[in-house]
Symmetry: D2
Amino acid sequence: MDNDTTYLCTTDETSVTIRGKDLVTELVGHLTYTEMVFFLLRGRVPTPPETRVLDACLVILMEHGLTLNTLVARFVASAVPDQMQVAMGASLMTIGDTFMGTMEGCARILQAGVAADGDPRAYCAEVVAKHRAEKKAVPGFGHRFHKPDDPRSPRLFEIAEQAGAAGPHIAMLRILAEEVDRVAGRHLTINATGAIGAAFSDIGFKPEVMRGLAVVSRSGGLVAHIAEERESGSARLIEKLAKQNVQYRDPPAE
Amino acid sequence: MDNDTTYLCTTDETSVTIRGKDLVTELVGHLTYTEMVFFLLRGRVPTPPETRVLDACLVILMEHGLTLNTLVARFVASAVPDQMQVAMGASLMTIGDTFMGTMEGCARILQAGVAADGDPRAYCAEVVAKHRAEKKAVPGFGHRFHKPDDPRSPRLFEIAEQAGAAGPHIAMLRILAEEVDRVAGRHLTINATGAIGAAFSDIGFKPEVMRGLAVVSRSGGLVAHIAEERESGSARLIEKLAKQNVQYRDPPAE
Amino acid sequence: MDNDTTYLCTTDETSVTIRGKDLVTELVGHLTYTEMVFFLLRGRVPTPPETRVLDACLVILMEHGLTLNTLVARFVASAVPDQMQVAMGASLMTIGDTFMGTMEGCARILQAGVAADGDPRAYCAEVVAKHRAEKKAVPGFGHRFHKPDDPRSPRLFEIAEQAGAAGPHIAMLRILAEEVDRVAGRHLTINATGAIGAAFSDIGFKPEVMRGLAVVSRSGGLVAHIAEERESGSARLIEKLAKQNVQYRDPPAE
Amino acid sequence: MDNDTTYLCTTDETSVTIRGKDLVTELVGHLTYTEMVFFLLRGRVPTPPETRVLDACLVILMEHGLTLNTLVARFVASAVPDQMQVAMGASLMTIGDTFMGTMEGCARILQAGVAADGDPRAYCAEVVAKHRAEKKAVPGFGHRFHKPDDPRSPRLFEIAEQAGAAGPHIAMLRILAEEVDRVAGRHLTINATGAIGAAFSDIGFKPEVMRGLAVVSRSGGLVAHIAEERESGSARLIEKLAKQNVQYRDPPAE
């Protein structure tokens, strides 16, 4: 598209138009937040099954306790207490290639496989072999804490299936999982980001926007962490623990 | 609360517990994203009227075209194209005391007035007089672009009333508006952030978390702006316009 | 100044002009980094005493071990390992009203006192009395870790005095310190940010840019923390300590 | 190194120790800011030639007028006027793979070539051929604005040579430049980030920390931009230009 054009939104003195619809008369009160996120990104209102899957994905990722991500929010909130958005923004930056980023990688593999339209098992076997040859983990598999299975993944598949929104990408992820286990000689869980990569693909999202949706999801959880930090002051306790447990030593020479 | 305690979330190998409920069996598939944000922050599932108002507020704030906020997202996305979360985080930092921040200020006035439980008109007259004496604008009134009225405000009141979720804070904001106009001698619109400050107050949110909810709302809009920027490359055009229109001159002495 | 004007920099195909000077022939190789920061902000090259004080202030603030500030850098670097600038940016946001911000507050008091040009002791007594009445700490005094004295403050005064750059603001801070101690009935240290607020004032910086100079100083320290984090992986250890020591409990009702 | 260890800094009630030296008695007043950045990162005080090159690199990158980078700083400063560090942090995030990032890529090529210790011209020819085959630009060459030559590059080489700090990496970059021109059939400038990648390599910096040093450099320039933005209000003018020149159109269907 042209660099002098936007398809998203325009305002005048008495109205706000978003992707061809009037915000006040056609969107507010008619769409939920989740539907509006879909509408703004895709240009059409989602179907109820699509909404159900998107809601499930956004709920699943919102909260996972004290992790690097929420600790950053608490630390920044402790240092800049009156500017909640600063703590949120700093924390959301951590949703990158390591943390939640396997969503994108897994979705890329699944979307390429579905688009190739060949034998899914042969495709998955090739993907696993290629990662093994490069000594890389297949994105979307394994979890630091959840063993033997990330409980969120089968639940998400169940919701997608009940809604009638499970399609070829979830199907391919199941085959990929069998190949991953077969080659590893042991069971590796499909993790939540892998499952979401598949579910997002089945409702038509491109890999490039998925981490943006993860940011949306997490933002909801951070408000609660920062509100709690203001009451509890945990950041100062953790700072103290860090000082006690990571000790200074005189450095070796360069 | 104690600094060694969190009430939000814990995980073990096979489950995620959020505020006393099991994520997999009790939350995902049962709550929408909007309901989950409320639940995580407040510790109880919202009623349908509360959900309806929260959805309306989150939809209203999501998108307002090319503003400082979305331009920051586009500029950072242009410079760091593969890390969407960085552009989102940087942009969300702008939701501060100037941009959307009047929500908090207006809510504080309304919540103090309702808590005081006296004559609302006398309270509002006093608030207006005090701001006038300090030559400050009453937060929640006036808008740079929307004149004579921000169309989003009456629509939000309508939704809250139809849902049965309009309470004393919206009522007080209407009285405050009359006093603002009376003292100004002309009509000043209740702007969207003022209206949301009242609606959020009526469903029980404290002023301190409101800008966090604005961050949640905006995050949904930014995904679309960044996805569009990748296609259009508007940031480079605007950079060029800035160079052409803000010109260098040799500085005067210190 | 006009909104279509900048006094800072312009470029053309073969040159870069900064505040009236040619970068290549007049600045690079002629000014140190510290002198260039001063020149860009103030429009003139600093005198050697000014440079000496600015260098001392920038060196003093650069590093203070594992604090909220450096922990944020380490956590974000752990999550987004290939984008060092993201960890630096997120960490630098913490240099706010709580962390290093007393520099600004102390400088405002000193600059107002010097500008008033009255009896310094009467002014300082009044400042202390006013803060006591409002139950606020006088900015620039007291330190969490350094007792009875922050060792950085007397050293900075010594450097400023030897350079001939100690002026009325450092003098007034000494008087203010006497008044603080007298009213408190015990000794409170002038902390490093208080001392720097005075030293910066004596070389002509306004309070509004001081935290920006603190950001410059800290940025130098963060590079080393992030480089070390990549080797050591301390962030994951601290995350584990946080999980072990901040424990989940089922929440009380709203 | 172990995750329970830091070699950087420890503090106690009366002292600050940085990499084995006492901050107050051995560092402040003895080292410039530039020397301290080197010392903290490398563990030894730089030689005068190393300091001279590091200063030159930090001065060269500090300021380049109104670019995406400084515009982000101005926009955020306009929205969050009292928190200069937020505008700085958001702006510094843009120093990524696109903006200044070629420094790292160029340094990696040069350091690998020097380490290989073979025929430099054969190595450079191979590098250029490989990039050509992959249709990628060789990092460190070409500039959007500076033609035919980025004036900063020869000046930096001159400073390094005069200081006696020009070594095999600058030498190899010159050979690489000849090969780039030969294969392209036209002259491409060595840009400032390419030149700095070579100069930083000759004074012993690893590619992984180079963008961190670019952040340090830029942070100094941003203070001046934000201070100026507060006076001029250019962000609002540019926002207006963006609205006028990037126009809304109803979107095509998905």
